[in-house]
Symmetry: C2
Subunit: 223 residues, 2 copies
């Protein structure tokens, strides 16, 4: 049995959970709070970051969300999420890197810092300038997703891919933290409604952090 | 013919150049300065970041250094750089992510900001506190590479992999910018000497930025 060390609002944990569910890989969740500096977890992953996926009986430890996704892409034939030609696959990976890198850095990381970590760790109020910057950046990212969806059925082409999971994972955390204004982004909202309605996504959307509640529309498919 | 849009001190461009040279892929370099906001380059890559690899006659545009490396891993049999079992390959990708993510963020990005961008763009002096933090972080990364090399011949195992290229690419930029103190890191220095002596690495080490010169040991195999 695989055990996934993860944190509910970690977008990279969410991407891996969506991937495992889409591919039908049985796993149990183990919750880790990365900022608590858990020694056992640091022994598992020197980077101290979620997600880590472990199969104890086989001695397999997989670290880094993209490395985990590529592992299952290589070892399972079912439900390929990096499909197509080498060029198609490069486009999926470009977009995964865009959402995991750029969107995380500009939108999700600052929202987590201001709305979650400050509340849980330093008990400081959020910096409204940083929040405003993150929400403006979120709007730019929605514009880009609108643009992609003007040309394609899914973000990387005609089929659902890891790019859709990566984008939905980042967006869902931003949305939980109240950082997304959906007005004027019908294409992206329609695509996200379809993502939300997938069985893989439902358990994620049902989870709540103790001290931070999402906006009312967060888990609604029709929002 | 492939054209690589790159910047000499971009560690991700360097990783791709090392990969192309190790695999023997003919290519021409096109220099881009990412901070100049070149419109043609922005049309090519919305992220505005190097490297981008283009094969105009085939209409192929590859963006993101890892996506580029995976593309050639899939399309060429020669000189695999993500070799072995799925677990071996996951370990290579974990380390590539570590060097491209963590080492870049903690060491190379701040050195480039303080020692290069401030000089070229704002003509401001470097912030010595930031420089000291980056150099301390560099020392920690060398400790980790020492540790890996205590257990393995190359960084990810018994063979040269993309992890070695990623680490050497980041380290070479940090070293150019005077951010690496090699004392007390014999394992890493010996490994880096071997990397430097590879034909793939020589052209990179011979290049100079106009306004910033590297330390005397920078291109010496015996340093």
């Amino acid at each position: 049995m695989w055990h996934l060390y993860q944190f509910p609002l970690c977008p990279f944990s969410r991407k891996v959970r969506l991937m495992l569910a889409e591919k039908g890989v049985a796993h149990e969740l183990r919750r880790v709070s990365p900022w608590l500096q858990d020694d056992d977890f640091a022994d598992l992953n020197p980077a101290g970051e979620t997600p880590v996926l472990v199969e104890e009986s086989k001695g397999v430890v997989l670290i880094d969300s993209l490395a985990i996704c590529e592992y299952f892409e290589e070892t399972l034939d079912k439900a390929p999420l990096i499909p197509g030609t080498a060029s198609n696959r490069a486009e999926v990976r470009r977009l995964v890197s865009w959402f995991d890198g750029r969107m995380h850095h500009e939108v999700v990381a600052p929202l987590m810092e201001e709305r979650m970590k400050k509340r849980l760790i330093s008990r400081a109020p959020p910096d409204t300038t940083e929040l405003r910057k993150a929400m403006t950046a979120a709007n730019g990212h929605l514009d880009y997703i609108d643009y992609l969806l003007d040309h394609r059925r899914w973000l990387a082409g005609p089929a659902l891919t890891l790019a859709d999971l990566a984008a939905a994972a980042q967006l869902s955390v931003a949305d939980y933290l109240g950082g997304v204004d959906w007005r004027g982004h019908k294409q992206t909202a329609d695509w996200y409604a379809v993502m939300k309605s997938r069985p893989a996504f439902r358990p994620l959307l049902a989870e709540r952090m103790e001290v931070i509640q999402p906006p009312a529309h967060y888990d609604k498919v029709d929002f």
